[in-house]
């Protein structure tokens, strides 16, 4: 750009406001782009359009009441939100959910991870212009949502678990339905891959786009598939096992270069691994109670606690300060999307407008979680 002869033509940078109403900012994210023609010079994220004061609500509601509110954060992965919070409070109370509940939690959370990744895949591909993957992905997501609906009556904001275990026993035919799903799903993942993985346009649009090195990713606090795409093998399910994850066999896929294509491959493989976990879970789900012995009114002892789980988008952490009453003194959430979004500025620098869309897609953000 330094070679440009400004005497001939008067050129100027233009500032384009991408969002908050834009088809592919995945909600109400606003990105202020400074453009030189099609090239992005700088990007600034503006967030807060979906702020609902979730953390403050956590101080006004009792521990039990707060759980359904959390479903509205990352509404794509409501089950993970629920699991993280319930485990945090259980830890604060010093109790543990019974093994059967733990297994139900793992199965449901992994199904939710698959559905979250499917939604990511569909929208990411749609952003890059491949329409059909979106509808294929939603076809399989529907099967998962049906399982959720049968289990707890809700499809999206499920409020699936309770502090101390789960509310509902698994329904009759659950195992058959889940088994059918895990048998068929890997074939569908292959199907998505036939549309994208070796497509020249897809490779062209994702290889070398939005590269983030392992060091940068760690420095920015990026977690989840975005971090693993850069080659860092960090997954809380293995690093700090929670729920019943230590009983399960699964691999952590990692990428090499940290570009959009690697993150795509990581998530595709994660879907297969999650299927593996679900398959193991439904075969060896133990008998027993689903709810720990717990007083009706939850009053944790005075103190504070931080607990985090591997949500589909990265590390989802809860920091709860208890003053010994029925409501939290402070309920802080560490949402993965919020932290991952920080990487956007670094990833888009020097790329083109079309890449910004691809990079927002590959970060897999949900604004409900960022703004809370």
């Amino acid at each position: 750009m330094s070679t440009r002869d400004d005497t001939l033509f008067d050129t100027s940078e233009i500032t384009v406001s991408m969002g908050p109403q834009h088809p592919s900012t995945h909600g109400v994210l606003q990105v202020k782009l400074k453009l030189d023609g099609e090239r992005v010079l700088d990007a600034e994220c503006v967030i807060g359009y979906l702020h609902r004061g979730v953390e403050k609500l956590g101080e006004a509601q009792t521990y039990g009441q707060f759980v359904p509110t959390l479903d509205r954060m990352d509404y794509i992965a409501a089950v993970s939100n629920c699991l993280g919070y319930c485990e945090t409070i259980e830890k604060l109370l010093g109790i543990q959910a019974p093994p059967r509940a733990q297994y139900i939690r793992v199965i449901m959370t992994e199904l939710n991870r698959i559905s979250s990744h499917l939604l990511w895949l569909g929208t990411h591909a749609l952003d890059i212009g491949a329409m059909t993957v979106f509808l294929y992905a939603f076809r399989e997501r529907e099967e998962i949502l049906k399982i959720f609906e049968n289990y707890c009556g809700a499809r999206l904001t499920t409020h699936m678990f309770r502090i101390g275990g789960t509310q509902y026993e698994i329904y009759e035919g659950f195992q058959d339905q889940a088994r059918k799903f895990v048998q068929e799903f890997p074939k569908h993942v292959d199907e998505y891959e036939t549309l994208l993985t070796e497509n020249r346009i897809w490779i062209g649009r994702t290889r070398g786009v939005g590269v983030i090195s392992a060091k940068d990713a760690i420095d920015l606090g990026v977690t989840g598939p975005t971090l693993r795409g850069s080659g860092v093998e960090w997954d809380l399910r293995k690093a700090k096992p929670y729920a019943a994850y230590s009983d399960f066999q699964f691999d952590i896929p990692t990428g090499e270069t940290g570009d959009t294509y690697d993150r795509y491959m990581v998530r595709m493989e994660e879907m297969r691994q999650s299927t593996r976990i679900v398959a193991q879970g439904i075969e060896k789900i133990p008998d027993g109670p689903i709810m720990a012995k717990l007083s009706k009114i939850i009053k944790p002892p005075v103190g504070d606690i931080y607990h985090s789980i591997e949500a589909p988008k990265g590390e989802l952490g809860y920091y709860i300060v208890s003053d010994g009453s029925t409501q939290a003194y402070r309920a802080r959430v560490r949402p993965p999307s919020f932290v991952n979004l920080q990487a956007l500025k670094k990833m888009v620098a020097g790329h083109m407008v079309a890449d910004v869309v691809a990079i927002i897609g590959t970060l897999d953000i949900v604004l409900g979680e960022i703004d809370r």
Partner: protein, 345 residues
């Protein structure tokens, strides 16, 4: 009287037919597009309006016509109003030279299946169709808005670079047939066979460039909805928007018809050089022509359902570094072969 009938009445009727058929075709193909893509995507597509949603093609235009026509306050008013018209008129005018069938006799008069047979038909199509891009550029510019501007810039760059390769990809056919008239090109294929067998590379290049020229997936960058909201027509609504739409689909028809005329023998039956297949001539030429055009239009929809979108710089690279050199090489090789083999084909 004869002069009046031959030179005014009959052409006017033909023009009226084109003007009536094209919007009708657009209505049908928009529904067909939704249905075909829906079928590829394991869903049903529009089902609510009429049986199997067939009345959707009536409902859509009605909706567009009844919508409020918004002109942004800061738009360049006259250019904004003219742009869709500039876009649409060339798209319709081009169809004048495309022969859709052999001439036939009616009331003792020979009637041709084209409005006019220009001796520079190919050049006419190329030049008129490239006027259409002006409408897109003006529309994007006049909107006085950033996304349309970006869309217009993309469109300008894209059309200019693909026009070159498009032109070169046809030259092989022109050398083989030795004429620029579309009717004569079809006639020449009667003896030489479909040119797609003699010019396979030229054919593929022509179709790729044609898809790029019409801004269709995977080259739909000027209106890339996930990047530029709606590209050059972001600020357009109602009927003006539908004119852009009409132009886009009419251009698709042009490219398909040109591909058929230049490479697939126009109204000729398959393998016109093989006498054994003469029984296929029972089917009228028009049917062959329309059938072939439908196949091409189907390809358009198929592309759209299967492929992601190119990026701006990749599109330029593909055009200049890949398609253009190959099309030039194709011209040279064809020329050498014609000289060496000594006859046309």
């Amino acid at each position: 009287m004869d002069f009046f009938i031959d030179y005014i009445l009959i052409p006017l009727i033909k023009i009226a037919i084109i003007m009536a058929v094209v919007p009708g075709y657009v209505a049908v193909i928009t529904l067909a597009e939704r249905k075909v893509i829906a079928w590829m995507q394991v869903r049903l597509g529009p089902m609510r309006v009429g049986p199997w949603g067939v009345l959707q093609m009536v409902a859509d235009p009605i909706k567009l016509l009844l919508k409020e026509d918004i002109i942004p306050a800061r738009a360049d008013r006259w250019v904004f109003i003219m742009a869709p018209v500039i876009c649409l008129i060339p798209a319709l005018v081009v169809l004048a030279v495309i022969p859709i069938g052999p001439s036939f006799e009616i009331f003792g008069r020979t009637v041709t299946m084209y409005v006019t047979d220009l001796n520079i038909g190919v050049l006419y199509v190329l030049s008129i169709s490239s006027v259409g891009v002006l409408g897109i550029i003006l529309g994007g510019w006049a909107s006085n808005s950033k996304y349309p501007l970006l869309g217009a810039l993309r469109s300008a760059a894209q059309m200019v670079s693909y026009e070159v390769a498009l032109g070169f990809s046809i030259i092989g056919v022109l050398m083989l047939s030795g004429t620029l008239s579309l009717v004569s090109i079809v006639e020449a294929q009667k003896n030489a066979g479909w040119y797609v067998f003699l010019q396979p590379i030229g054919f593929i290049l022509f179709f790729i460039c044609g898809v790029a020229e019409t801004n269709r997936a995977p080259f739909d960058l000027p209106e890339a909805e996930s990047e530029l909201v709606a590209g050059f027509h972001t600020e357009y609504s109602g009927f003006r928007f539908s004119l852009f739409f009409l132009a886009e689909y009419a251009n698709m028809l042009t490219v398909a018809a040109m591909s058929v005329t230049l490479f697939l023998g126009g109204w000729l039956r398959p393998f016109p050089t093989v006498p054994a297949l003469a029984f296929l001539d029972v089917v009228p030429g028009v049917v062959w022509f329309i059938g072939k055009v439908i196949v091409f239009l189907y390809f358009y929809l198929w592309f759209r359902a299967s492929w992601p979108r190119y990026r701006y710089d990749q599109l330029m690279k593909l055009g200049w570094q890949f398609l253009l050199p190959i099309s030039i090489a194709n011209v040279i090789v064809t020329a050498i072969l014609i000289v060496v083999l000594g006859d046309k084909g």
